[in-house]
Symmetry: C2
Subunit: 339 residues, 2 copies
DNA sequence: TTGTATGCGTTATCAG
DNA sequence: CTGATAACGCATACAA
């Protein structure tokens, strides 16, 4: 037997509208009435129905976070928890909830498409996604609806609000650090040609080498899905050459683990014979032996920024789209420290 | 300019109620009418408002997942993503969404208590939480409301539906494995006395030793917050004794990392001089050197089970409460392999 | 300052 | 098989 605004109105001998105004702390209600009604609400243990409020107010105070859960090893998954906490830290205080939604490849079927399920049916007020999920087509549809959304991951194709880490700068930082440690033959391992994430990272690496007047040997540019196996295979190949590299920049930690294994098998001392620096500072990088020099991205900050941006756009619909680049941080550990 | 059920009714020359019945595929509507109305819905790009549907149907098709995001190193956090995917795999096909909610310690304030915010205001139809968040008091309140909820983590205090891994059996499995590798002086490192999780794990360890007729030396039962630092400190202490242990069961991976560090500092060979087996198989256990023998819990399965249970309870309110114990799996790696 | 009437977009209960 | 009308619980313009 649930109690509604009508019950409160009856008990307080006022109109429903008066109770509603008390709920919303309207300035046009006397202090006495407010106190009296509030006391009754408390006594009767009344909580307004969010469904009714939402229908009347035409908003949900709910943010959707899109994830493709079928990609088990996707770029951001190991950091997912921190991202989520970051988002929550930004939207929670503004009274938004976070709904996590699975977007499978099977979603191509009209029926279950998230656009219909979430956006058109008004299940959420705003959307956070990443650029691997949000197609250009969907971005356009969202814009036509002027629906607030933010992409985690740079987005250049169209007018989109996004936040990302400066991967190009990250490539520079890792490479410059290796140069400072007197490594001179530096290769880049992992990453699929054409992939945005790879392109940026590689670009930073390549530019730094060029500016230092060092060669960029084509055969060192190994490419493939960035996992442990690739790291091992490519490193083994590179290090068996006549003039092998003396340092490697790895696309991610998995690749670095593979590289490390290859170095062990070949009897190379890290960091003496081979320097290893990697993108992404996974929680256990420091427990690996030798501990890995890596590029830390503050995933909490990434989420917080995305949450901030999406609520901003909800509350100020005419806001200009913008992209935000966050600064990475290099964590120097044993795998490159040879001074 | 959004279109509603009224627009469709007008365009199709039928009553709103007829359109509603078409939406719900009511058997009392002729096939012709259905086809005609559906075509118009498609032409006009109509999607029903979930807010209105929810208000009318009095349900939300939304499951809440409670997390205390302030506990950064909480037990389940590293596995959070998998748990979430597991939950989604169970509730998604049943058309439920997942809302992740932050429950801070500050929640003690009446105002923002999740009970009011989520349950009383009918923002969700069911709740998944873990036993470190759900107080006995709240459990009782939920029961009085006969609100569907499931605890991840064993729950003995009251009538609660829960799912957990068999931590006692896990303790047995790790200890039995160490015995099979001819270790005889086995200590247990990490865990706070009185903590449910620790008690179960320790119990399995202790019983196995007892059954093998081996002593359980009190001074080896180190206790404290289970992190890397504790692992290092306690292991260093234990291994400096006159009759040091030849194997350690670790409360979690962090502890094991600390133990490993201590062994290195003391110049002990793992696994020859010291066997190390640990609870929880974090993703990078296998990259550690030596790779860690660990107890893997299938976190996806844990989430899937919780999701299954909560939707079952939503759809069958009179279901009996029950507890489910899932089987862990031991992954034998180098840190204990000395045969 | 408070009350009345109407709207939010569906579903559900009856008639017809 | 279809339609009119009343819920669902709250918000809001307009009156009083």
């Amino acid at each position: 037997m649930k109690i509604t605004i009508t019950d409160i109105a009856r008990a307080a001998n006022v109109a429903k509208s008066t109770v509603s105004k008390v709920l919303n702390d309207s300035p046009s209600i006397s202090a006495e009435t407010k106190d009296r009604v509030r006391k009754i609400m408390k006594d009767m243990n009344y909580t307004p129905s969010s469904m009714a409020t939402r229908l009347a107010k035409q908003n949900t105070f709910n943010i959707g976070l899109l994830i493709d859960m079928s990609q088990e090893q996707a770029y951001l998954n190991p950091f997912f928890y921190n991202i989520m906490v970051g988002i929550e830290s930004a939207i929670g205080p503004r009274h938004y909830d976070l709904t996590v939604v699975n977007v499978q490849a099977s979603e191509t079927q009209e029926e279950r498409h998230y656009m219909k399920r979430l956006v058109m049916s008004k299940r959420i007020d705003g959307l956070i996604t990443n650029n691997s999920i949000l197609t250009a087509e969907d971005a356009e549809r969202l814009q036509k609806l002027s629906f607030p959304y933010v992409s985690m991951g740079e987005y250049t194709d169209s007018e989109v609000s996004w936040v990302d880490f400066d991967n190009e700068k990250g490539g520079r930082m890792l490479t410059e650090h290796l140069l400072s440690q007197a490594y001179r033959n530096i290769a880049f391992v992992g990453g699929v040609q054409g992939e945005r994430l790879f392109s940026k990272r590689f670009q930073g690496y390549a530019q730094t080498l060029q500016e230092a007047g060092l060669p960029l040997l084509a055969e060192w540019n190994a490419r493939g899905i960035a996992d442990e196996e690739l790291g091992y295979r490519e490193a083994a190949g590179l290090l068996a050459q006549a003039a092998p590299p003396d340092a490697l920049v790895c696309m991610n930690n998995q690749v670095a683990y593979g590289v490390l294994r290859a170095a062990k098998v070949l009897g190379l001392q890290v960091p003496r014979d081979l320097g290893i620096a990697t993108f992404d500072d996974e929680p256990y990088s420091s427990y690996i032996s030798p501990s890995l020099t890596s590029l830390k991205i503050n995933t909490y900050e990434l989420g917080a920024c995305a949450g901030q941006m999406v609520t901003d756009r909800i509350e100020q619909p005419d806001l200009q789209h913008k992209g935000v680049l966050l600064e990475p941080e290099i964590i120097v550990r044993d795998s490159t420290r040879r001074n």
